[in-house]
Assembly symmetry: C2
Homo-oligomer: 198 residues x 2
């Protein structure tokens, strides 16, 4: 294995380990030693790749945000061009749940720690968050414009309620108790009914 490639893999291993620990222990509780143990290196190895613990953790968070955004956007792009606005919302629900429940501890780390980031990092995190919110805002606006969604509720609140339900899923979903597909289907079902007129 060429040098450059091995080095890159170590970096990825540390980053992934950091995501795992961060998602479980919280920002302040994430120790370099724990990350190092998971990544099978010694703690100071981290400093070869990042200037500080904080930079490493910040990268985990932004990576998590990007992973979510990109997966959702990609899933939407993969839908047939004639998908209805509600179908697109279904697609976004599925993609969000997939990334948060299966694909990425990064997303989970970003979600769970959003409220406890240091101020400077919190700020640039808010930028990414706004970007992602815009995607959902667009989805909902399209649905309203298409008349596929009830106009009788505060769309911002409705949107955030849905995102909350999705972001909370990792706290209770357990692969042993039910398949991801089932959760996705149930969520789509409930949300679709919740947002459409009777």
């Amino acid at each position: 294995m060429p040098r450059e490639r091995k080095s890159a893999r170590t970096r990825e291993r540390i980053l992934a380990a950091a995501a795992q620990v961060l998602s479980r222990k919280g920002w302040a509780g994430t120790r370099l030693v724990d990350i190092a143990e998971v990544a099978a290196v010694q703690a100071p190895a981290v400093y070869y790749y990042w200037p500080s613990r904080e930079d490493l953790l910040a990268e985990v968070v932004t990576t998590g945000q990007q992973a979510t955004l990109e997966h959702v956007v990609a899933s939407l792009a993969a839908l047939p061009a004639d998908a209805s606005a509600l179908d697109r919302i279904d697609g976004a629900i599925a993609a969000h749940l997939e990334v948060v429940l299966r694909r990425s501890e990064f997303s989970l780390a970003a979600i769970r720690n959003a409220a406890q980031l240091p101020d400077d990092i919190r700020e640039c995190q808010l930028v990414g968050q706004r970007e992602y919110a815009d995607v959902w805002r667009g989805l909902v606006e399209d649905a309203v414009a298409a008349g596929e969604l009830t106009a009788d509720v505060d769309t911002r609140a409705a949107r955030m309620l849905v995102l909350g339900a999705l972001n909370w899923a990792p706290e209770w979903w357990n692969p042993d108790r039910g398949s991801l597909e089932d959760v996705v289907a149930t969520t789509q079902h409930v949300v679709r009914r919740g947002l459409t007129p009777h």
Copy 2:
């Protein structure tokens, strides 16, 4: 002010300060110095009332859980005896949002830190959580039994989606952008539609 009373007030002040800091900084990031500053005492004063930082924080969490449970149960008890199952769910939604958004930083601290508690504390936290979950399970079961709720979805998943939406509300709701009453109404509206047959 009698001695006993003053002492009790200091204790409450420290506990409340701990809740505030804990809800913002996370379990590991909550420093005694910060708690002390908010409570307007010096850090070692904490040890007069609690044997350790961990005991203090644990009390915050259990207090938060109890506050939520009690407020919801009390609100349900205050409903007219002939309230429908769906009305009772509406009541629980309102009560949960009230406690989480307005009444108690304790609840918020408990919610936000659930995933990062040390193992021993996590365990007794799970007990309280199960107790609260039972209340909601009861509400949903009653609604299903009364035929007021669609039988075509996984009730556990539906229940957790709703609770997720509620627990996430503190992350986005801001009293300046809309009244609590509005959020409650929207939530009730969306959830009711989401759970009832078209």
